[in-house]
Amino acid sequence: MTPEHLLLAVVFSYGTGALAAIVVGGAVGRGLVAGCALLAALSGVMLGVICLGAEHAPTVSAPFLPLTSFSLRIDGLSAFFLILIGIVGAAVSVYGFGYSAAYEGRYSLRLLGAMLNILLLSLSVQVMADNALTFLVAWEAMSLSAYLMVLTEHDRPGTLRAAHWYIAITHASFAALVGMFLLLSAGDLTTSFSAMRSALLTPGVRNAAFVLALLGFGAKAGIVPLHVWLPMAHPVAPSHVSALMSGVVIKMGIYGLVRVTIDLLVGGPSWWGGLVLGIGTVSALLGVLYALMEHDLKRLLAFHSVENIGIIFIGLGAGLLFQSYGLMTLATLSVVGGLYHTLNHACFKGLLFLGAGSVLHATGTRNMEELGGLVKRMPRTAFFFLVGACAISALPPLNGFASEWLVFQALLGGSAIPQAEVALIMPIAVAMLALTSGLAAACFVKAFGITFLAIPRTPVAERAHESPVSMQAGMLTLAVACVALGLAPFVIVPLLESSLAGLNGFTATTVVFTPALPLQVPGTFGQMSAPLLAVGLAVLLTLVPLALRILGADQRLRVGDTWGCGRIGQTPRMQYTATAFAEPLRRIFAELYRPTRDLSIDFHPASKYFVQSIEYRSEIHPWFERVLYGGLVLVIRTTARWVRRLQGGSLHLYLLYMALAFLVLLTVARWWR
């Protein structure tokens, strides 16, 4: 199966999937959509695996696009992202089959199915693009198909507004990318990437291109100042779409940044790495802090995407910083750490969104305050969600820990940077990263605990039922992926490493792999063996209950009532709620959140001392959202209101404009030379 055949298989099956969605309706249509997407995703993974190690990168070109031509090239980096798209794509398409059944009568399933296939196709084409026009066309097709899918549930409040913010910021980033690519192609009409690599650009142009790339790709990835659309768009989209968007679509920002900064611009001055590292740290911290305050399950997960993108940016930023100082081993380590976390985040975030989707599917609500006790009613979904929660909180045997460990080692390597004041960023980044992972663990205890454990808080949660088999299959694939990625870093890291080998400046054999299981990072710092850790924990987990049984510990177990200080009944209202759980942190970080509090008490008419009802409302609006975006919208609207007055309705005014323009231009022409 040569790469070309596989590529054709990918494009062909996504295409048939999209067509089938439009032509065939109902369950068969959904089946075809899911089947074709699954087939294409798997062949995408195979294509990626084949091309990951290949010496020469296979190229395909077709005279489609008018100006430059449509050319693809699958080098190591593209292959890695193809695998990422394939894994999450497969899981999402299988999950989608069951999940979209609920949309049968209400929304257009044909559009949803077609757009799912087109999104996956444009993602695959995007990572293989070899010239600017193909990249931009795939980029916009991706944004559009995702936008249309976000709009599926258009009659719900807030969907239109969220979709509008999404397409607005995505298009602004698209404009930045057009500018950047044209700056990079510097006069070469084919705008091909190979020409960009060899183009000699002045430092000024390179810096401008970098800033535009950061803005464009950062907006897509969802780094802090530009992340506003992410917590709005992902919750309103159908869950399997938000899983795909959070897992894969925002990773295109990462792919783009790596492709431009490391491949096309071949590294740059150290402030590039510093800026990316700084943005990563801020995004990670703010992402998790705002996630803690959420009690809408999918908004919480969306904010966590911002956090994890921050961690990936920390890895990339450290890589760029090391590259600018010529410490190639550390640079490779940190970029590999970043990419490894990209793959891990795609898996566990996808899993969590699918889990949230089945909760939404079963109960119809995303609000954690109305859920609870689902672990007994949806045992398998609960287990998968728990696996995802442990992975995202970077608990040892799973994949979150492996990549976060790598990023930590990269940052700890920072001491090798000659300039002391630059090296000082590293410990601060380490501290912020540690705080973020701590808060993430707290947030997911809240998310899993309040949603799944204890007593159901509403009748809706009471009547919850396990999700259909196809949805569980989707979640199972991603859970297995998380565990596998967690156990086998010593396999994944060299593969990642060879995918970077193609990019100049990154040597191939920096991370040595001894046949023994541990992941060694020679010459720098750490050594860790995930498989041995997992085996150790498993052995202990079996040994301890066995020992208790052998040593004659009492095995009797009786079910009784929870201790309620002597009260008889145990009502759901006595449980902790999500807001209560996050109250200590809200108070500690009050200056950041600036929670608005309003209390309205209406007293009993008889006397001031008796109260009929008290209503307490406290909201948290991210202040920079109000300042940054509120300001921007205000500026545009005031200019628009000012420009509108030009068309005031009076004919004389219109003629005056014409006459003034005429006189002005006459004077210009008369005294021009």
Partner: protein, 485 residues
């Protein structure tokens, strides 16, 4: 000579037929439709000739001449005229116009088409002026097809601003002729474009600059360049859909054609720097005014009108970016004509069903009219310049030309303005497409057959977005030669 007759004849015939058949009957409409196809065929033969390298002229004194630039415009005009003939009033039974109105549309609509065709094929700049003045008159007659306060107001503003603009353009033609007379002396073919070009390098710089200002303000008014664009939103929101399609799609292009004809002469005389600065200034002003007028917009027909002002401004900026820029802006002209005329016809159908041009009042368009709504949404995405469609390709070519011509900051500003326009339009579009469908609005696509030609328009846009057919490529290269002279 034959092709010109086949080009200009059919619309004249159709107008005559409509004039003769007093109580309007539907066969006039069908005849008009068939005749318009004839002129499209003539335009295509012209295209074939130009691709083969011949420049067709008619008559001894080269009265009519069709070089590459004119052929592109004839193509656009004839196609849009054919669309207007098939989709205009007087074809279906209840398209909201009675017999008299349909007859009036058939007469003046065809006259409008003839004058535009004559304007783009006439070699004599004087006749070109006369033809463009005639377009103003014929189209002004059609704006108040439904006599309401708003349409009367729109037509008065249109005729007054248009006539004053055209008078100034006549001033420019006179000054150009004056410059030529002082150089060579008076003779009848003086105003022919070819003769003017022959002696262009020796023209007096000061006078030709003054003449170009008159031309730019004059024909700029007809092209809807800011600050003379004020008639455009009013005219489009009141005119019948077919007329708005012809005006927004092609009339702006014809006026731009006139400006280009004189730009070539002026460039031959004093170099491109003077005209480029002017065009970039006007283009940028149009982009700014149109971009920000779209932000708070409550009427979807005015939204389309402002989008036309924006795209014309973009074409002007493109013209000033060297040969690559000219190539991009001519491709953009073709794409914009197809896209904008399609959009106005769709807007006409929406207006006919919802009875209002208020964006807020039109909701649930996808629910009530799925096919029209779908076409409207996809067409709007095309007009905003999104990839799979031709407009994105021409805009990308334009930006590429801008960066090659060494004007990155200008391109950055243009990109930002286009993004502002995109964001506002997609907001308005969403409000129309989604949401609960307005009460009392009948669901379904009653006259479904008009959707077929509009579907064809959309497919051409997609084809232009995917590949650039070689005959079109050679046509555009020939135009770049003509303009780059």
């Amino acid at each position: 000579m034959g092709t010109f007759a086949v080009l200009l004849g059919p619309p004249l015939l159709a107008a005559l037929l409509a004039g003769v058949v007093n109580p309007y009957r539907r066969f006039v409409g069908w005849a008009n439709g068939l005749l318009s196809l004839l002129s499209v065929a003539a335009a295509v033969t012209l295209w074939r000739h130009v691709v083969a390298g011949q420049v067709l002229t008619s008559g001894s004194r080269e009265f009519l001449r069709a070089d590459a630039l004119s052929t592109l415009l004839t193509l656009c005009v004839s196609v849009v005229a054919a669309l207007a003939a098939w989709l205009g009033p007087g074809m279906g039974d209840d398209d909201g116009y009675d017999g008299a109105q349909a007859r009036r549309f058939r007469i003046f609509g065809n006259l409008f088409a003839v004058t535009m065709l004559f304007a783009v094929t006439s070699n004599n700049l004087g006749f070109m002026w006369i033809a463009i003045e005639a377009t103003t008159i014929t189209s002004a007659m059609l704006i108040p097809l439904h006599v309401t306060k708003a349409s009367v107001e729109a037509s008065w503003k249109y005729i007054l601003i248009g006539s004053i603009g055209i008078a100034l353009a006549f001033g420019g033609t006179v000054l150009g002729y004056f410059d030529f007379v002082n150089l060579v002396g008076r003779h009848d073919e003086a105003l022919n474009w070819t003769t003017l070009m022959a002696s262009a390098p020796h023209l007096h710089p000061q006078v030709i600059q003054l003449a170009f200002i008159f031309i730019l303000i004059g024909y700029g008014t007809k092209a809807g360049l800011a600050p003379m664009h004020t008639w455009l939103p009013d005219a489009h929101s009141e005119a019948p859909a077919a007329l708005s399609a012809m005006m927004s799609g092609v009339l702006l292009a014809v006026a731009l054609y006139a400006v280009i004809r004189w730009k070539i002469v002026v460039d031959a005389a004093i170099g491109t720097e003077f005209t480029n600065h002017l065009l970039i200034g006007m283009g940028l002003l149009s982009l700014i005014v149109a971009g920000f007028s779209l932000v708070i917009q409550r009427n979807y027909k005015r939204m389309l009108a402002y989008s036309s002002v924006e795209h014309t401004g973009l074409m002007c900026v493109g013209l000033a970016l060297g040969p690559l820029g000219t190539f991009a802006s001519m491709l953009h002209l073709l794409n914009h004509t197809v896209a904008k005329s399609m959009m106005f016809f769709l807007a006409g159908r929406v207006l006919h069903r919802y009875r209002t041009t208020e964006i807020a009042a039109v909701s649930g368009l996808l629910a009530t009219m799925p096919w029209t709504g779908g076409l409207f949404a996809v067409g709007m995405l095309a007009v905003m310049g999104l990839p799979p469609f031709g407009l994105f390709m021409s805009e990308f070519a334009l930006f590429r030309a801008g960066f090659v011509a060494g004007r990155p900051w200008l391109m950055g500003l243009v990109l930002a303005l286009l993004t502002v326009a995109f964001v506002s339009i997609i907001g308005h579009l969403n409000r129309m497409l989604y949401g609960a469908s307005a009460g009392g609005v009948p669901v379904g696509e009653r006259p479904a057959w008009p959707l077929l030609p509009l579907g064809v328009c959309l497919t051409t846009l997609v084809v232009l977005g995917i590949t650039l057919p070689t005959p079109l490529q050679t046509l555009l290269d020939r135009i770049v030669e003509v303009i780059g002279q």
